[in-house]
Subunit: 295 residues, 2 copies
């Protein structure tokens, strides 16, 4: 990340630490069993925690209690991590490195790696339902539903399926937009929507967070395509040019670097203007940082 503002850095790192501590508590206490070991390996591998931070900061921005949003934030990171573990499998992207470390199946073998992914997805739902029982608030269940829908076949998994079926073909712009909006965008948008819901924000405000989330999520995936071409393995922590070697159509391969950059900045700026309107300086800074990120 490239930080612009000291107050933002402090806040970002506070969120990160809160999430890392909680994820550690949830996984490490049972770390001695092989499946917790495999789940913890990827979950505690130093991800940036963008999705849970989006959720926590949206909740705080709407006047919500950060502690009551922590279970959902961790669940979101578990869902993100499970998707990476399954994406990296030999049958999918067949990646050897992720976040500068060997991928899960390279360390634990494919069978345990598939189950570690399944386990993280399931644990995310266990955590959220436990929270719903303890809180008994209909808005929490709505937040749960948003995350579940964004993660499923009409969200992240749907995007991933279309992505795989598009390998070794040239796809049209509509298909690419479907992939980008769903594969990455859906969960980023759900992070902001769920954060606002957990703070019991009204429908209009929740709608604005969702709108900003859709824009930011789409921009985020265009940036991923750009980084795959312009980044290095050192900065990315994984192989660069993997889209090219997997014959994948990307925003860059379809529309060129210049148009990808232009659209990326346009979508990000629209999201930023909504965060300004919502008086969320932290989210504005976070979006600015995402624009400038190198990995």
């Amino acid at each position: 990340m490239i930080f612009l503002d000291t107050k933002f850095i402090v806040q970002f790192e506070e969120y990160q630490q809160l999430i890392n501590n909680e994820l550690g508590n949830l996984i490490k206490k049972k770390h001695k069993t092989p499946i917790y070991n495999a789940m913890g390996y990827s979950l505690l591998a130093g991800g940036k925690r963008i999705r849970p931070i989006l959720l926590l900061s949206a909740c705080v921005s709407c006047g919500g209690n950060i502690k009551s949003a922590l279970a959902f934030a961790c669940s979101l990171e578990m869902i993100h991590t499970y998707s990476l573990i399954h994406d990296d499998l030999p049958a999918m992207d067949n990646d050897d490195y992720r976040r500068g470390m060997l991928t899960n199946h390279k360390v634990f073998g494919e069978a345990i790696s598939i189950l570690a992914g399944d386990g993280l997805l399931n644990l995310a739902y266990e955590l959220m339902i436990e929270h719903c029982i303890n809180n008994n608030n209909l808005n929490d269940i709505e937040a749960f539903k948003n995350i579940a829908t964004a993660s499923g076949v009409n969200g992240m998994i749907g995007g991933q399926v279309m992505d795989i079926l598009s390998e070794n073909k040239t796809i049209d712009r509509d298909s690419l937009i479907y992939i980008h909006k769903n594969k990455t965008g859906a969960l980023i948008s759900a992070a902001l929507t769920a954060g606002a819901l957990l703070a019991n924000a009204n429908n209009e405000i929740v709608g604005k967070y969702k709108e900003a989330g859709d824009l930011l999520g789409f921009a985020f995936q265009i940036k991923d395509d750009l980084l795959d071409v312009t980044g290095t393995r050192e900065a990315l922590g994984k192989d660069a040019n993997s889209d090219i070697s997997n014959n994948k159509s990307t925003y860059v391969s379809l529309l060129g670097i210049d148009k990808a950059n232009e659209d990326y900045i346009a979508y990000s700026n629209k999201a930023i203007s909504i965060f300004e309107e919502l008086n969320s300086p932290f989210l504005k800074q976070l979006a600015l940082n995402l624009i400038r990120r190198e990995n």
Copy 2:
């Protein structure tokens, strides 16, 4: 199945039809997309629907409304089916046949098959949370929690992990019992517990359904081990002796056929006596049928 009683047969087939219709509605209306096609292939492949029928009949037995339990029943079958799709993968049991048909990855390829499993697991949670939003009843959320816990790393996935790690080794009786109680037993027990909860049964009654479910689930897996040795591919719809060819310790390999039979009948009979006490003639008949099943 071997049926003993006409009234039971009619009721069993009514439940089966209700579940099959609902699963068909949930999947077929979106059947044109490749992922729904892959999910539907395994979900609508003619399973016996034991788990959802246990849930529906426990709910009815406790005076609950069958329609309000249908979403959870279908979710349970989706979770069961996802676990079969992932179990059959080359990295796991590497099975070519299931229910007399080619396994999911043999038809759709490994990548789509992993995602079809992920999609079914996620869809199960989407359905249950949708139901919870519409009903707004804390007992439904408790039922959800029971199913989620039973499906996770401290339930079905935990049993599956231990099962895989035990391949090509002789394990002790405690490890085998852990595998059996979790890999299959947890979801069967959760079916009965969730059914009672959805009917708003009191804690004592819910506890009895859970106890019967634990016994029945354990017995069910011992029977699976027995059928793997004594069954035929024709009756099973999958290869017999797969445990032997995968070098897996089973109740039979560890304790012998006679002891396996004896324990199987003892656990089943304990479950049956609880169903008698609960005045659930359908569940008693179902347990008797499970004792005599050939596949």
